[in-house]
């Protein structure tokens, strides 16, 4: 059994949660004020994910292209994802939603453009 401390982001209250974890599953949580804390702790323990946003340099352009993961990716893949984004090649023109890195880090999730660039 492992004990983790985390802060709930459900509201500005920011309850400090004490979460008992076994086999990557939440066993119990204390410190929460409402049920949002339970849900947050369960998800954070089982499969913490984050949206990643960054930029890609575009050859011949001063302004970089901003991008995001189309959905949240596993938290432990953030830096691998950033590395892949850094190496991406962009073919202009690009529109919002165009895929810049398909299936980034084999997550099944694409990195897509978040601005239009002619």
């Amino acid at each position: 059994m492992e004990t983790r401390i985390m802060t709930c982001i459900g509201c500005p209250m920011g309850c400090q949660l004490t979460v008992e974890v076994e086999n990557n599953q939440m066993v119990s949580v204390t410190g929460n004020t409402c049920k949002k804390g339970v849900e947050y702790a369960r998800d954070e323990v089982a499969s913490p994910t984050r949206m990643v946003t960054s930029v890609v340099r575009v050859p011949g352009r001063k302004a970089p292209l901003c991008v995001k993961t189309a959905q949240a990716i596993p938290k432990d893949q953030i830096f691998a994802c950033l590395q892949a984004v850094r190496k991406a090649h962009v073919n202009l023109p690009v529109s919002i939603g165009d895929v810049v890195v398909p299936n980034v880090c084999n997550t099944g999730i694409d990195v897509i453009a978040t601005r239009n660039l002619d």
């Binding site: 930029v55 890609v56 340099r57 970089p64 850094r86 190496k87």
Partner: protein
Amino acid sequence: MRDVIIIGAGVIGCATARELSRRKLDILVVDQASDVADGGCSKANTAIVHGGYDAKSGTLKAKYNVAGNAMFDAISQELEVPFERNGSLVVAFEGDDLSGLEELKARGETNGVPGLEILNQAALQAKEPNIGPTAVAALWVPTGGIVCPYELTVAYAENAAANGVQFQFDTAVDRLEAIPGGWRITTTSGETLEAKAIVNAAGCGSGRLNNMVSAHKLDILPRRGEYYMVDKTYSGTFHSAMFQLPSDKGKGILVARTVDGTLLLGPTAEDVDDPTDTRTTAEGLAKVLQFASRTWPNIPGRSFITTFAGIRPRPSDGDFRLGEAPDAPGFFNAAGIESPGLTAAPAIGVDLAGWVADYLKAEDNPSFQPKRTAIPKFRELSNEERAVLIAQDPAFGRIVCRCETVTEGEIREAIRRTPGARTLDGVKRRTRAGMGRCQAGFCSPRVVDILCEELGLQPTEITKFGGNSVLLTGPIGGEEAAQ
């Protein structure tokens, strides 16, 4: 071998260079900084043209203060530098010994300061309705004025350059020695520069230079002054520069409007060991506010746009040291020029140039052009003038610094002039871009772009004020991504 090398591109060095350029001479100005007015002195002082009541009668300070003051109307027109004779007040507060005002008045009259007058509380409040209620009397100095110290320095330098003077920056003197027929400078980077005459206008470094060549030693004791700057929204609060009557509690703190409409509060006066130590301190800044609040009660705390410190080269014997060193022919001092040095600069420049020219038996320069034209100040133009300017050059139609209404055209011109701006601070001093209430938050990325375009540099090569003061450390994504 050149005719003259002037060491120091502050207001004294640049004024001397400009006055010397009236003669047929080969003149070089060197400075360890990357720009004119970029030491600790000419760029960060009280910006006051003093009346001349303060200096002890009979001193060089008194003489050149009064003489310099009288030259400001003409020189500010000739060089197109903003100057306003808005008068100074030396204010006495409840509990002060009012005889101090009479003493200052008498001293001023001995020094030749015209128009001095003691005002009672009613007369003072009529002049300055926002002054604190404990201000009971004041000495009125109608010849007092305000000027922009770095713009004056830049203007002198530009006019000198237009008349043939050369400038070399990032050049620090390591050794100075006599050679047959003149002097040899060895710089810290190993370069040698030779001239028949040397002008020592090195500010806090002037003692060290003098002591390299003369047995008449000079100690310079660096003294730091800290300031607050208040947003121009409060420009109308006071009309004249307001000093406080020196008392046993201290020399007092000044509250003064600048020619750009901001208000200066300061300075402190603190002896420091390091002549380059322009740090501000919590204690110093607190003291400024404590004393300034006597003149200006309830100073609005949200009004501060910046704080800064300058360094004064205080001579140990208390007076300027001017002229040829008795045991070093061709080595001319303009050393220990602390306050009222800015006021004295035009007069010092004329006399020093005269002595150097006499030493070199220089002829007049028939093509000398005394007029310097300022960079257009878009913010001060009428709408008709603005429309004409934009029609001539569309770059004047793009505002880069929104707080001070500075256009791209002004910034480009500041960079293209000689000696031109090469750094963010150089642009700031010449145009006021970044000098306003957001303190370059919005305009600095754009100014970096323009500096790169004009100078053919990369953004990572642009500095705040030379040396290692780089703004950007590298491209995102590392070097490989930049390819």
